[in-house]
């Protein structure tokens, strides 16, 4: 059984482009302090950044949780809707519904979810109108 060592929680506010990346930077700092290896820190940084940006540009806001176990890290990105209608489409590289405003800032390549999955050891996503839930494991041993 994996032993839970620590939990961090970060709030992510919808539409606030200016502080985008704040939660991910905090996650990176915390992992470095815990002595997690740079390769793992990089993977978690990519995952948390894409999760954070998606909550900001596509959702009504939500939270990111980082759970530290002795043998893995679990990152959960939970938001308050409006949900993803077609998950298969959303997971396809290049698919994006990002607004023009978001695209002008460099978002909207349709690569965020595929990037998250690629950097995960286990990736689960579910979505209803109430919200989208993403649960990701990254092994550290």
């Amino acid at each position: 059984m994996a032993e839970l060592i620590k939990i961090f929680e970060y709030e992510v506010i919808a539409n606030d482009f200016n502080i985008a990346g704040t939660a991910s930077s905090a996650i990176k700092r915390n992992l470095k302090q815990l002595g997690i290896s740079p390769v793992i820190v990089r993977r978690v940084s990519i995952i948390s950044y894409e999760a954070e940006i998606n909550i900001i540009i596509h959702s009504n806001g939500g939270n990111i949780y980082l759970e530290i176990y002795d043998d893995k890290l679990t990152l959960r990105a939970y938001d308050n809707g409006p949900g993803i209608k077609n998950l298969e489409l959303a997971m396809t590289e290049g698919f994006s519904t990002a607004s023009n405003a978001a695209r002008e800032l460099g978002f909207g390549a349709g690569m965020g979810l595929p990037n998250m999955k690629k950097n995960s050891d286990a990736f689960k996503i579910s979505s209803t109108e109430e919200g989208t839930k993403i649960d990701i494991d990254i092994n550290i041993e």
Binding site: F17, N18, A20, G21, T22, S24, S25, K28, R42, S45, I46, Y49, E50, I53, L105, G106, F107, G108, A109, G110, M111, G112, N115, K118
Partner: protein, 110 residues
Amino acid sequence: MKLKQIIESLQVEMMTESADLEAEITGVYIGDLLSLVMAKAKQGDLWITIQTHLNVIAVVDLLDLGAVLVAEGVDIEEETLAKANSLNIPILRSRLSAYDLAKKLSQLGL
């Protein structure tokens, strides 16, 4: 290659104050779509882009990129420079296109 060699050889403008000019630049990545940069750019890379919004800094910080080189002389937002200064992230700027900059960097051996 040291950052200061790049600044001298390419005659780029240094837009931030607090950068370490002795920092090693180990590669180059060109791109304006942030999630592609997130996937592909490597630690120590010089990132050539025309994006200048604050979000650029989050990407550099998370990936430990070496520096940002803004191409085409694009205006850089004040908040972006302030944040870069606070994190000691170097931002450079040139009037040249990403292609012309890449040619010069390649000639330098990067």
